[in-house]
């Protein structure tokens, strides 16, 4: 798990190569396969924004590895020109999002929520027991 965190260094080369590397490194752990779908990322974003986004995706991927018992994960990054959509899906065990308490530390969700909030973004979790979880983040550009 620890070497996954090192992928952050690659953020220097740009968000997309870093995410693709992350997905590649995370694939194969417990039979999990990650796929990256990106659109409109040929231009670099602001460096600090790219790093924030990378950290968020890293956290989400870690959650999937640790908790989801999934076989498939998909990372979508879509540039809608005025906002950036990040969607991370898995086909794992799912959970009841209503039971996520913001005061109870757990799954790193709180830290993601804070990061997204500081970027003026919107953060949504949708999960279905035994079907999987989707995390959707919209960030203004």
């Amino acid at each position: 798990m620890a070497h996954l965190k090192n992928s952050g260094v690659i953020a220097k080369n740009g968000l997309l190569p870093a995410v693709e590397k992350l997905a590649k490194n995370a694939s194969g752990i417990n039979g999990l396969e990650f796929e990256v779908q990106s659109f409109g990322l040929d231009q670099r974003l602001d460096n600090s924004l790219e790093i924030s986004i990378f950290r968020i995706i890293q956290e989400l991927v870690t959650n999937i590895i640790k908790h989801a018992k999934a076989t498939q994960g998909t990372i979508h990054i879509t540039n809608h020109s005025d906002n950036l959509n990040i969607m991370v899906e898995d086909n794992g065990v799912g959970f009841n999002p209503k039971q996520l308490s913001k005061t109870k530390p757990g799954m790193g969700i709180t830290s993601i929520d804070k990061r997204v909030e500081s970027l003026d973004g919107k953060f949504t979790i949708e999960s279905e027991i035994s079907k999987g979880t989707t995390v959707i983040i919209d960030l203004p550009l």
Binding site: F39, T78, T124, T134
Partner: protein, 206 residues
């Protein structure tokens, strides 16, 4: 005189082309059909020089009709006529034996050019189409849409709402809506209506 048969399930398209061809001395419409089966009957009866056919039609699609016509009456030239410049669709029409391909958003003059070209034994492709059907296999295998997105697209084609799609696929409604939004962006479409139309065309597994 070039004799032409047209098959298209939207009558207004037929009427438009008819109107255009009325003033051409060298081209004559010998009949029109609104579905693939009617087209076959018409072609067998009138044996036109050129057939212009839609791809998506009731009863029998244009690709199947083209195959049958080229088998029974190989001298008849066929022009595909459709909404999107989908390479798979073009390739399937060409494999079926079509001599050319037109987009429905091309100007009517293009239709004239195309009819004359294929009648003279040439091929004709709309200028907006990039022909690289042969090189397709060399392209990287990664498809633009994910499996989940294709699932959603198939349900969009059935006219289902985001809520219904969410229930059917056991995912959240926000997930469905985000996928729809992202697909519109990725496919370069203009909005929800266009996604629906794209989904309908895709239903034919091009």
């Amino acid at each position: 005189m070039i004799t032409v048969a047209i098959a298209e399930d939207h009558q207004s398209f037929i009427d438009g082309i008819k109107l255009l061809l009325e003033y051409e001395d060298d081209i004559k419409i010998v009949g029109t059909a609104n579905d693939g089966e009617a087209l076959l009957d018409l072609v067998r009866l009138k044996q036109p020089n050129v057939v212009i056919t839609d791809i998506r039609m009731p009863k029998m699609d244009g690709i199947t009709a083209t195959k049958v016509i080229k088998k029974e009456l190989p001298h008849i030239k066929i022009l595909g006529f459709t909404m999107f410049d989908q390479k798979d669709a073009i390739k399937q029409m060409l494999d079926a034996g079509a001599s050319g391909y037109l987009l429905k958003n091309s100007p009517l003059e293009e239709v004239l050019k195309a009819i004359r070209a294929v009648y003279n034994g040439n091929t004709y492709f709309d200028a907006n189409i990039e022909i690289e059907a042969e090189n397709d296999t060399n392209k990287k295998a990664k498809s633009i849409l994910t499996k989940r997105q294709v699932e959603i697209l198939n349900l969009v084609a059935l006219g289902k709402t985001s809520r219904e799609i969410a229930d059917e696929l056991f995912i959240g409604i926000h997930t469905v809506e985000t996928h729809r939004k992202n697909m519109i962006r990725i496919l370069g479409l203009q909005g929800k209506g266009e996604l629906m139309r794209y989904a309908l065309e895709k239903k034919y597994k091009f």
